[in-house]
Every structure is written in structure tokens, then in C-alpha cells.
Symmetry: D2
Subunit: 373 residues, 4 copies
């Protein structure tokens, strides 16, 4: 049994790790931390976990954790950090990583360039020296590297959905990546469980709005990864692209908040690349590229022609649903992806990565039928 500890267990992503690990056949939860609910049994805080998880939260305030982390790490095989940006990089160290694996759900180790991190997140990175050993945990693309890392950077929810949706056509050069416009919708759980007026029921319900227009922090993460895919090309492997060798991209990414609990829906637009004769690829050819990359993937469902992904059909599961449509009038392709932001966009992918890191079946604890309606 893999023993796990969770820092930030009472946020939505942290609690979702609990939901998943509670039924994981080869993992068990050793301890959980929370700053706001320290000393309380998790079932008082998340009533859904009653009779399923019986653990009292330890205080995981960052300063407190710094003192305890060595001891706590000694009790587990892996630590999940479901914490705000800046926390994980304050806690990890080469010494810690020498005996315990860390899966970080924040952005601390997602971007290979510390300057890009500091610019977009407006934070000073506390452990830039560890960046080279962090592996970006988009499991489907970095599976081999995930196997051997001690420090895993779990991707963001928008990022996972955006990258997986556009990856095949970018990598095989069928679209012009610099024309990519990614328009995304998010459920409200992505905003976390903090008490903010902007996330009150009456503020979000019966409303739709864009936010973070031109400035959302997931933008450089998408750019780096799709830039790597473009550099790898059809014959290369994204994981082999050396740092700095990725194609430099400036994408358009615009998230919107819509009134639902869970779900990310990405609608991405890009210009198709014509062949030497000026002919554009047919939709059938585009579909074949998706099949090539994803046919064997357990958690990716390619939709049949004419179908569009819907967030409801992924709810509670680790699936990403992907569909495409070519526009013969505009010579663009519209690529669409849907997932559950708390599962494949956070906790589920974290568990998927844990499975790979410990040599377990990749879908252990994750073979869940989405719950609809």
C-alpha cells in the first residue's frame, strides 16, 4: 500500500484527493492537513466523507509545516500539496525528495523558466534549484518521465484541457499554433473554497463573464507545452525537447466563469495549414491524428464525427472528451475538449500520476463512471 499525506486537504482539490484515495485499492491516507480546519475531523467539514474517511486535520500552516515536514514525510511514501502558489516550493527540499515523493497541485513547478513564473504569478520562487528535476505531470504526454521523478508538477485544469485538446494537431503541424485562440469555460469549484464575495451563490448564479482576459496564469503553461509539441514535430517526442528548445508561442487564452459546480470546456480555434498545393486537410485526416495519439489512452474519449464534448458527461471521472469540427468556409478547425476540473483537472490526474510513479495500474482508483445527471 502506498501511504499518502495531503497538505491542503480541506480545499476542493484536496478533498477530491480524499474522495479518490478512500476507494483506491493500493493506497491509504496517513495524515491530512488543513489550516482553516485544523483539529477537526474531515467528516465534519466534508459531510460526503462521513463513514468513508475518519481522520482529524493537523495544522498545515506553512510555518508550522516547515518544522514538521521531515517527520510527516517519514510517515508516508508520497505527499500531495493542494495548496496556494508558493507553498509547495517553501516546503520541499532535496533532502525531503530523497526519501518521499511530492505531487504538487499548485503551479510552483509547472513552468520550466523561473522568470516566467515570477512574472505571471508575481511571486518569488522559493526553490528554483529544484525546477530541473520537476516533471510536468500531463500523464499522457510525459508518462515515462513521470515514472522516475520524485517531484511532480500536476498541471492546471484549463491547461490539461487546452493542451490535450490541441496537442495532436500542433505536434503534427496541421495547424498554425500562433493562430490558436483558446476560449474556455469553467465551473465555480475552480475558484476554490475561500470566502469571497465574487464566488457567492448569488454573484455567480445566472451569470456568465470572462475573467483574467489576456492575463490568466495558465497561459504560459499552455504556451510552453504546446511550444514543446510544435518543436517535437510529428516524429519527435515532446518529452525529449530540451528546455528552451520549444517553439515560442503567444497564444490567446480567455477563461469564462459559468454557473455550474464542476467542468472545464475548451473551444480552441486555429488556422489549418494547407499542403504544398494549397489544399487543406480533410476532417477525416485530422481525426486520424487524434486517433494516432489517443486511441490507446484509457482516460481520453474521442467523440464520433459531429459530436461535441459536454462537461456533464465527465463529471466525477478522470475522462477528457475531445471532439473536432473543420470549417470549410474559414479553413479553421474548432477543437473542443471537456473534463472535470477537480478530477482530470486536479485530483484525478494527481492520483493518475501517483499510480505511474509507484508502478501501479494507471487507472487504479480512477475507473469511475461519470455521474449523470
Amino acid at each position: 500500500m502506498v501511504k499518502a499525506g495531503i497538505i491542503g486537504a480541506t480545499g476542493y482539490a484536496g478533498a477530491e484527493i480524499l474522495r479518490l484515495l478512500a476507494k483506491h485499492p493500493q493506497a491509504e491516507i496517513a495524515w491530512i492537513g488543513s489550516r482553516s480546519c485544523a483539529g477537526r475531523n474531515i467528516a465534519e467539514v466534508y459531510g460526503n466523507l462521513a463513514k468513508q474517511v475518519d481522520l482529524v486535520c493537523i495544522d498545515d500552516d506553512t510555518e508550522t509545516m516547515k518544522e514538521q515536514i521531515s517527520e510527516l514525510a517519514g510517515q508516508v511514501d508520497v505527499i500531495f500539496t493542494a495548496t496556494p502558489q508558493g507553498t509547495c516550493c517553501s516546503l520541499v527540499s532535496p533532502q525531503l525528495l530523497s526519501h518521499t515523493k511530492v505531487i504538487d497541485l499548485s503551479a510552483d513547478f509547472r513552468l520550466s523558466d523561473v522568470q516566467v513564473y515570477e512574472k505571471w504569478y508575481r511571486l518569488q520562487h522559493k526553490a528554483p534549484g529544484l525546477l530541473p528535476q520537476a516533471v510536468y505531470g500531463l500523464t499522457e504526454l510525459y508518462r515515462e518521465k513521470v515514472k522516475n521523478t520524485q517531484l511532480l508538477a500536476n498541471p492546471g485544469c484549463f491547461t490539461t484541457c487546452s493542451i490535450l485538446t490541441a496537442y495532436p494537431l500542433v505536434k503534427d503541424g496541421l495547424i498554425r499554433p500562433e493562430t490558436l485562440i483558446i476560449d474556455a469555460l469553467s465551473g465555480v469549484s475552480g475558484a476554490g473554497r475561500g470566502a469571497k464575495v465574487a464566488d457567492l451563490y448569488c454573484e455567480v448564479n445566472e451569470n456568465a463573464k470572462a475573467y483574467g482576459v489576456t492575463t490568466h496564469r495558465h497561459t504560459p503553461e499552455i504556451e510552453e507545452q504546446l511550444g514543446r509539441a510544435a518543436a517535437a514535430g510529428a516524429d519527435g517526442n515532446i518529452a525529449d525537447v530540451a528546455k528552451g528548445e520549444e517553439k515560442k508561442l503567444a497564444l490567446q487564452f480567455t477563461p469564462h466563469l459559468v454557473p455550474m459546480n464542476r467542468g472545464i470546456l475548451v473551444t480552441a480555434y486555429a488556422d489549418l495549414v494547407p499542403d504544398a498545393d494549397g489544399n487543406f486537410p480533410e476532417e477525416e485526416k485530422l481525426r486520424a491524428v487524434y486517433e494516432k495519439y489517443y486511441a490507446g489512452e484509457k482516460f481520453i474519449r474521442l467523440l464520433p464525427e459531429g459530436a461535441v464534448p459536454e462537461t456533464r458527461f465527465t463529471e466525477g471521472s478522470n475522462y477528457v472528451d475531445i471532439g473536432i469540427k473543420e470549417d470549410l468556409r474559414t479553413h479553421r478547425v474548432i477543437m473542443m475538449g471537456a473534463l472535470d476540473n477537480l478530477v482530470k483537472g486536479a485530483a484525478g490526474q494527481a492520483v493518475q500520476n501517483m499510480n505511474v510513479m509507484f508502478g501501479l495500474p494507471e487507472d487504479a482508483g480512477l475507473d469511475i463512471v461519470p455521474c449523470f445527471p
Copy 2:
């Protein structure tokens, strides 16, 4: 492996059986029927089931089924009928039941008195002769009888929640059952997947209303069962109360429709019975009665003092959450219960009953952590 067939598989309850059986370790689905979607793969109709269930719906129009039912029954150990009232009793026969078990999610076999059925449902019962052998499948109360029946009447969603919420105090005579007022809230999935203006998004959203006031069909079902509990008394067993020996009750039951997908919330009021000295029982004593009946029940969660059940914490699971509060000013007790109408209120309880009927662990396929948020 138990082989199952499902009639009415593309309604919400039918599809929920599919969701549950898809991961059931000891059951498999042999065939599924649908009238509206005959000939279509279920994953086209319920996108959540893609990569999980790969079956084409056979036509289960009642007339068509009458011709095929013997043959179809021969392929399975159990048939689930997730159909409108009147369908199951048109299809079952002693011959059919001689070799195949039937779990009916409709009301056809829930009421022991055919006249009560015909009065409240305004239908002629097609197989009244089978009523005596039908077992009412509120598993926690009729477990022993469920084990040995061929024809199981799966209770309604409001009924399951109402009965389990009030049962201990009715049975032990701590409340006056004739004073029971049951006020219930329901999510919209209880209305089914039929195309009706009244169930359109814009008609239901941002609205609350009562319906079926004084006339809802689940009323006599609650009355019969709580009447049996009252007749059994603290020392008796509800399953031993002979037909017609139940206490005759006329309860108040009022359901309301509120804008959410899933969930039943029951708030039940009753006058407490004072002891010989005119003293009313303390809340602690009332709690002890609930403990007596439910402490060992896997799917019932008794909430701590002061806590109220919330539908969100049961979503996707087979749990019933129950809490109570005594009012010292009015000498009433307020009993509250919550469950997921598609799981414990329909498909989950049906699978729970299947497990009992086939000698499987009662929670096989049902050990699910509720999904929140």
C-alpha cells in the same frame, strides 16, 4: 456473475442502474431495452457511459416485450424494470418468476392492497395475483424477506427517505404517527427524462413549488409501511405484521420541486408521546432509538447532535443521512433525512436488493464516496 437485463434503460433510473452495474464486481449486463432509443448504442444516449458500457438498446415497447420476455428472461438471472406504472405487472407471470428474479422500480407491487393501488394510480392492476409474493424492498427493514423473493418491489424515492427517517420513533411509539406531517423537497431528475414543458430548464430553474398536494402517489406507500411499523411496536418485527394488520394512518405528505438535479430532503414533524407522568422524552433518548435500529447499517449515517442532513453530501451514493431535533417549546420532534433519489431512492437500492437476493455482499458495487461539490 449475476447476469442482468434492464427494461427502461434510457430513463434516468435505468441509466443509473447501468452506471452502478458497470463497476459491480459480481454482476454483468446482458441486455438493455429502450422504447425511445431502440437500436442505438447506449453511449450515444448517455455520453457518460462511453468507454464503460457498450450495448445497443433493444426495443422494449410493452407489446414487443410481451413476445420476447420469455426468451430474454432465459438469458439473465434478474430483470430490472425501470418503467412507468403498469408495465411491469403487464410483463411478469408466475412462469417468468419461476426461473428469473424481477426487481421492479415502479409502484406496481409496492402496495399490498390492489384497491389502494388502483385508487391512487388510476390504473387497473394487471397481475393482482402476484401481489402476495412480492416483497417490499426497503432493504434495511425487510432484509430477510428480500433474500428469498423472486419479485421485488423497489420503493419510491420519497418513500424510502420518509420511512427511514421516521421509522424508529414510529415503531417504538415515541411519536404519534397520525400527527406526522412530511414535507419533502425533490430534485428534478425524479420527474424522469420525458419531454415535458413543465420540466424544461427555464421552467424549473429559479423556482420552488409544491405539487401533488394531498394527492401524491407515494402517500399510501408511506402510510402502509409506517402503519406496519406502528403495529409491530418496539418488540415486534415490521416484516411479521400480517397484511391488513397495520395501523391505519392518514399522513400529510407534500412534495416540492426545487432546482437541483438530484436529491430528496425530508422534513417530518410529529407530536412526541409523553410518558405516564406527562414528561416528554429527551432528545438523547430519541437518538438512542435511532442508534438501536441503524447503528449497524452500512448505508445509513446518523448525524451528530445539531447537524442537519444535506442532499449534496449523499450525491451519487447509496447513503441516507438522518438527523433529528426536538422542539421543547412545541413538544414535537423534527426528523430530517436526505438521499440521492436516483441511488438509494431508485437504482442503488435496486442493486442493494439484487445483492441480497443473490447472496452477494450487500454493498457490492455500492461502496461509493458521494461526490461533492
Copy 3:
């Protein structure tokens, strides 16, 4: 033109007063206060008011207001206090009331007995001496007194709906008021605009729960008013019942939170009173009593036989919709009422009272068609 000032203008009720007064033909807003948004233009805080209200919030922190209230009062004819309990009674004084009318949307002056207030609200009342001159502003019942008061206690949302729904039958003695069980549903805006985890979108959405069971603060307000109605009887006038002469009642009141922005739905149960021969009144007779009291009321809509009130049909308006159903099996009547908690349950009734207090047409600024869907 009536000049108005609003303390607490950036809460939901305060902002709703702004929405209504912005189009009021005979009123204008002189100043608005806010603690959290002092110094900001209201249109930055409530985007719906852009191009309609162009005012900057003054700081209305209670201590600050104490210093300014005399001066501010001098600029207006009426002050609305849409503030937490305890604020209004800290600010008003006989001197203030000598020249400016006050309409208080909090509970400070709703209960005639200061001890009941202090018990249920757990606050010390700062101006008990003013209680005798406060008029309870359920306009339809106290219209004549409202005309002449300087200090108006605007009723609560649950209270308005509960009282108006049950009033005719209580007053005419057709139901036994001590058997009243009031089960109510509320939209989330009733919880206000404060940043609390419990009111976050993801906490409230897809959920239903009871709260304040046996202890909700609107209980004694309903009890006092229906107790007055019972004491008045069919031939008396509720406004003439002397303090302390009301019938003492202990009602059951249970509110529930359901996922919608606006709306109160009340479902009230009571035992019917049989006549001397033991016959119960027919529904037609009960309807006639409602007609007697409400036929001439602009803002009360009595629904036809068989119809139930729905919150959606009152949204944005000052209407209360009322329907009843007799249960011949239980000899109870189910009385149902619906209203918009921010309008008839708060700001609309406040404006209605303002109209009466200043001799304006009672529906000035309130003749609004509810917005559906």
C-alpha cells in the same frame, strides 16, 4: 418628491431599494451609505445600476454614522436602514424621529416585547423606549397605523410570507393556530452579501437543507402577529389588539435553503376547526375568507382552485401569491404562499410603506410585472 437616504445600500436589500427608487415617480435618493464600499460609486459595485443611479457611497460605519446622522437626516424625508440587527436601534432617537421618518429593514423594532427580542437575537436592545411608537409594517394589515408613524419596522421575508398566507384562517378561527406548522424555502439572497463559505456557489448549488431548526429568529415575529390575529377574531382588527393581549402561540417554523437567487415559498399546515356538528368547513368557504380579506389588495394574488404558488412568478415584483388546498382525509388545510424575498420580503414592502407614510399611491414605483423566465 420624497427625499430618501439609505444606510446599508450595498447589501442585497439596500441595492434593491435603489433599483426600486431609481424609477419611483415621486421619490429621489439623496445619499447612500456603505461600510464595505465607502467612497465607491454604486455602479462599480452593482453593475446593474450603471446609467441608472449615479451616487458615491458615504461611509456608514455605525460609529461614523452616529456623528453624522443628524446632519444626514436633515437632508432627507426618510431614512431606510438596511442593516444588521442592532444598528438601527443604535442610531435612532426621539430627536431624529421628530423630523425624519425611519424605515428599518432589520428586526430591531418588529417585536413588541424587548425581552423576546433579546432572547431570540441575543443582543441588548439599544432603544427599547422607542418600541411603543414603532409600527409593524405589514402594510396590508396595519395600513392605517403605517400612515402616521415616524418609525416603521419592516417585516422579515419569511414573516411576511407566513403571516399573509395564514392570516385569514387564523383570524376567522377556521384553523387551530397552535397546530400551525410552517415549512418554508428560501433563495440564497436572503443570506445577504457577506463573504461566508456556507454561501459560496459550490456549497449551495445542487443542495437542499433545513437550517435554524426550532430556533429561527423569525419565529417569534410570526407568533406575535398571528397571535394578534387570533385575538382580534373575525370581527376585530389586528391593529386594535393591545400589546400583551395577543393569543400566546408556539408555532413550528422550519426554513430551508434551496439553490435559487430569490424567492420565499411557504407551505403551512393546520388542523381545521369543525363546527358544532363536527363538520369541517369546505374549501370553498375557506377561499371565501381569503377573498374577504385580500380581494381588494393590489399586491396579493389569490390563485384559482387547484393552483399552487410558484416563486418564479413573483420575481422582481411586490406580489404575494397565495393558494390553498384542503385535505379531506386529514382535516387539515395546506396554505401556500410565494413572494420575492428582496421585494415584498424587504425592499418592495419598505417602499410600499414609504408610499403610505407619505400619502403617495401605494403602488407608486411598485407596479412591476414579474420577470419570467
Copy 4:
């Protein structure tokens, strides 16, 4: 008083015309038609209209209407047709238009080219001869022509929002119109009140999806109008562009369905046009262009720098809220607009056009404060 008749009064758009005309100071409703609710009082069908509109629906089945339309037209000054595509053009005739104005909320007369209509709508147009005299009723752009027409084509909801959002920059040549990608979100009321499984509460709630990808019928309407704007240029007038002289455009338009009752949110992307020196215009300059066109418009609210439009702030009103953001990294501008699809996107704009057609104040009956929350 302008006398109005409404065909299709029990659809959402038709009922919204009723809501608005009920309080219009210079209009009255003479008759209303409905196919599904013929013979019923409108207040039974739309409970919000009780005590506000007291009219019985006549049967407006198309064949029935053909016989009655002359007589019905004689009773009114204007007929609103809130009907499916193909109905209005089956009913109007030169004779009818000679004495009665018609405001058509369907697409029948929106596109100047009958072939484009027949291709996108897959219908044969029944009155192509009337197309030249129809005026496209985007009031802000065609006000002068609206004044004098007998046949007004009221624009679609997506169209109104998309065109008004992009118009200034297209017209003044600051963006390249062929790069326009319009990503739109819609509330569910846009789908109408028909009983379809796809629009049931449980199908739409907790879900987001794209639809009509590359094929939505509002696309050619947007293309024609923005093509006219591009042809007019900064110094011209869109209304003066002759048929066929518009710039031919192939835009990308993708609508999405999100779970809310009302609202359209448009997020439009386009490449900025650099000046001769290769410098891109600053956001300030872009804002000035919006001010130039819209500063005097009653129903357009230009948001301050950094603000984004939100559908909630337009609910129930005729407002369009517009905000923009320049992306210095990609040299694109993101143009965003929000409106209420049933008001400015349908009934409100229809009334606005009626006001202009009859020489009434343009905001008569439309000076409504949006209702939030």
C-alpha cells in the same frame, strides 16, 4: 395609444413582449395568439402576468391565421410575429403592410439575399418579393430607416450582441474583419419553450457545450451586417451601403449553451490593423471609437477600462454592456458584450423599434433597471 397584436404570444419572446407592453405608457395589447394555448387566459400560462394582462389567446395556427389576418390586422396598428422561421413570410402581404406595420422576431426578413436564407435555414422563402422593403431593426444602426418602414426584421439575440460588440472597430477599419472569431454563450431561454429532451432541466443544468459549430444560422446575419459596416468605413453610414456592396466575410461564430435562464455573452477576437509604421493602435484609441459611436446611445453601456461585461447586470433590461481589452502580446483585441437575450435580443429591441416606427420616445416602456441578483 399604439394598438398591438402578438402572434406567438406564449413563447418566451412573445410573453416578454407582453411583460414590456403591459407597462408601456403609449401602447396597448389588442389581441394575442397562441397555437398551443388557444382559448386559455394568458395568466394561466404565464403566472407572472396575473393581475397585469387579462387576455385570452386566439388560435394562431398558421392556416387559421391566414384566414383571419386581414381582420385581425384591422384592429391594430402593429403586429409582432414571435414565431418560428417561415411563419411571418407566410402571413404578410403588400396589402397587409399597406395599413399595418409588422415587426417580425423571426429570421424571415433579416437576410437581404433570399438564397442565403434558404441555404442556412433550409426553408423556401414564401415572400421574397417583400425582402427589399424590410428594414433590419438593429435600432442603433438603422434608426432612420426604421422610422419609415412597414416591415421590420428584428435581429437575433446572438446577432445583436455580436454586431454591436464589434461594429465600431470593424467600421473604422481598426481590426481585420476576416480574422473575427466570435465565441458566444447563451442562456437556455434562447431555445424556446418547446418540449424537447435536450432542454430539460437535468440535461442543461451542470453542463456546458458548444452547438451549431460552424453552422449556426445567425452566422450569415452577422456576416452581412459587419460586411456592410466594413464597406461603409469610418466616414460612411451602414444604412447607405447598397445591397451586394457589403464586404464579403466568412466569420467564425460558435455559440455555447450554459446553465442560466437569460443572457448572451459574446467574446470576440480580431487582429488589430497596424498603421503604416507597423504600430498597433493603443487601447485608448480603440475606446475612443466606441465612444464616438455609442456615447449617446441610451441602451449601450460602455464599461470602464479593465471591466468586463456580465450577463447578470443586464437581466430584464434592454441594455447591452460592452468592454474591450487589447492584448499587447498577440496584437489582438478582445471585444466583449452582454445582453438579455429576451429583451435587447428579442422583445425589448422589438418594442424599441416599435417606438421608433411610431414616433414615440425610443425608451418608452423600456426604461428598466436590470434586476440583480
